[in-house]
């Protein structure tokens, strides 16, 4: 038989326990919630600086949506009218070519971006035509453009997208996957090879030494703009592992002291010249 009043005692116990527990109130303006780096905020259709919808109806969001809850219609950056009907055609939607088949004829690019970047249009067009605009050649084209400019200028990417009739979102996504620079590098570009051979023969200690020497991590530039540090598996010097590339010159095999010496050497010359040497000026 239940003793009368046990429920009341339990209730008092619960409230007393809560009295001493941590509180759930968040003092909003003073303390902000910890958001994941990948948090993109509320889903919203935003506008670019030119007043157009930034949504280009690329369907990347619809493709990755695990419950296939996203559907849309609109105009992409090339003026194609993209329209999807019933959700029964999910398979078709997942086909990257499906929305292109449903589109209208392509129009010239409406949003010219970063016109301050002077690029050699005929070089890029020739490059694309040289690969016969085949989509699988995208990485080879990026490589050629990066070799020429030191990074991938946005206008060149736009041009490639236009010329190859690949969506801008996909071109940009491929360029951002890794291995390519999307912004011009500052000063000397120090590339530490992180291929397997270099990594296991001491490349990681070289990277650690350079981190300490320059005070920056991979993908960052020093405050004075003299050095940019990055890692890449594309130095292509497996025979002389561990290898390191400074601008265009590849050095190896190196130990930590030699790597430091290379930095000190560059530091002295740039100090003597007075102005940092811009990357990609070769």
């Amino acid at each position: 038989m239940a003793i009368p009043g046990t429920g009341i005692v339990k209730g008092f116990g619960t409230t007393l326990r809560n009295f001493f527990s941590p509180k759930v109130t968040r003092q909003y303006p003073e303390t902000r919630p910890q958001l994941s780096d990948r948090w993109r905020g509320r889903l919203d259709l935003i506008y670019d600086p030119f007043g157009d919808h930034k949504c280009e109806v690329c369907f990347q969001c619809a493709m990755v949506c695990p419950v296939e809850a996203i559907d849309m219609s609109g105009f992409d950056s090339q003026g194609n009218h993209i329209r999807y009907g019933m959700p029964e055609i999910y398979d078709e939607r997942k086909d990257p070519n499906a929305w292109r088949r449903s589109g209208l004829p392509a129009l010239p690019m409406r949003n010219p971006a970063r016109w301050d970047e002077a690029i050699d249009t005929s070089f890029v067009n020739g490059l694309v035509d040289g690969y016969a605009a085949r989509p699988e050649a995208l990485v080879a084209i990026f490589n050629a453009v990066q070799t020429r400019y030191g990074y991938l200028p946005e206008r060149a990417l736009r041009l490639i997208s236009d010329r190859m009739t690949i969506h801008w979102a996909q071109v940009f996504g491929a360029a951002g996957l890794g291995g390519f620079r999307l912004l011009p590098s500052e000063g000397h570009l120090i590339t530490v090879c992180d291929c397997a051979a270099c990594h296991f023969s001491g490349g990681d200690s070289i990277l650690a030494a350079l981190r300490e020497e320059l005070g920056i991590g991979p993908g960052e530039s020093t405050d004075d703009g003299r050095f940019t540090l990055e890692t890449s598996s594309g130095v292509g010097a497996g025979a002389m592992a561990p290898a390191m590339r400074v601008d265009t010159l590849v050095y190896g095999p190196l130990n930590v002291e030699q790597a430091r010496h290379l930095i000190h050497e560059r530091r002295r010359t740039t100090a003597a010249e007075g102005t940092p040497q811009p990357a990609g000026a070769h």
Partner: protein, 336 residues
């Protein structure tokens, strides 16, 4: 005029003034405690903006009430409507006159202070009833009638539960009751049944959760206070917390040794030092029971009207009578 009469009048004026002044910080502190403790028990932070840890929150509430419109319904019985709040408030405040806060710190050390106390605290039901009547509002009237029914019902077990203490101690003076407890131990161990009856009945008497039928918002809006606004409402609000304080002090006085410390009172602390020492223990114990009352409010839901009345007449009253009977027999048999 006779000098002793003059002294008596002066003492009365001084003590009533001090008691009235004491009600203000008391109510502010208890209102703040209620806001903060309930918040903490609900896993919230509670007031923390006005002053350090929000300690001025209740003072700000007081000023807000002062700044509000003082509204009187058209058909209200104006003099009674105006008088009701201060009847309730004065009943709570004036009952503090006989409370022994510390050795030597009691405004009116009367031989019949127990009777005085329960007579005065019972007056507040008149205030609530006329407030409900004078408002010319059905909800107010219902609230007033409910309060009358509830408080009259609970006054019986409340009073009977302390008769046990009175029989044991053989005195109606709070000071002597405390003196008896100093010699024989706290009243709680002599009145194990009397204490819970008193605690429950006093909670109902001052309309605290879970017995706050008088202002059951979901049933009768705000009960007797529906038509009250501004400082008149503020007086009701004040009175509620002052009577909570007063009931806690009486609970401490009757069952927990008043200003006695849990261990023997140090003999070297005579005079002023003893007063401070006693006041410390008295306030500490009182605010512990204030905390328990707030704790109960954070825990328990409101009971139904029929449960409320049934509890008073079917449970508490028989228990109180049995307690009184057993105590009386014990006093005779063991010659206490």
């Amino acid at each position: 005029m006779d000098l002793s009469l003059l002294l008596g009048v002066g003492r009365f004026v001084l003590s009533t003034t001090l008691i009235l002044l004491l009600t203000v910080p008391t109510a502010f502190i208890i209102i703040y405690l209620e806001l903060k403790v309930i918040a903490l028990m609900q896993l919230r932070i509670g007031p923390n903006r006005v002053g350090p840890a929000g300690i001025f929150q209740s003072a700000i509430h007081g000023f807000k009430v002062l700044a509000k419109e003082d509204f009187t319904p058209d058909q209200a019985d104006r003099p009674v409507f105006t008088m009701a709040p201060w009847m309730v408030f004065m009943a709570a405040a004036m009952s503090m006159l006989v409370i022994p806060f510390a050795p030597g710190l009691v405004a009116l050390d009367s031989d019949i202070s127990v009777i005085y106390f329960f007579a005065i605290i019972g007056l507040s039901v008149v205030g609530l009833l006329v407030a409900g009547w004078a408002s010319y509002n059905k909800y107010s009237l219902l609230g007033g009638l409910r309060s009358a029914a509830q408080m009259v019902s609970y006054e019986i077990p409340l009073t009977l539960s302390i008769v046990g203490v009175v029989i044991l101690t053989g005195t109606l003076s709070f000071t002597n009751i405390i003196e008896w407890q100093r010699l024989h131990g706290w009243g709680l161990i002599w009145q194990l049944v009397g204490f819970p009856i008193f605690f429950i009945a006093s909670t109902a008497e001052i309309n605290r959760t879970p017995f706050d039928m008088v202002e059951a918002d979901s049933e009768i809006v705000a009960g007797f206070a529906t038509e009250y606004s501004g400082m008149r409402f503020g007086f009701f609000f004040f009175a509620e917390y002052v009577s909570l304080f007063v009931m806690s002090t009486i609970l401490v006085t009757l069952f927990f040794g008043g200003w006695l410390a849990p261990w023997p009172f140090p003999a070297q602390l005579a005079g002023f030092g003893g007063t401070i020492y006693g006041l410390f223990w008295f306030i500490l114990k009182t605010y512990f029971f204030v905390f328990v009352s707030i704790w109960a409010r954070a825990t328990l839901p409101r009971v139904r009207v029929d449960q409320l009345m049934g509890m008073a007449w079917k449970v508490l009253l028989p228990l109180a009578l049995v307690n009184l009977f057993v105590t009386a027999i014990a006093v005779v048999v063991f010659n206490l």
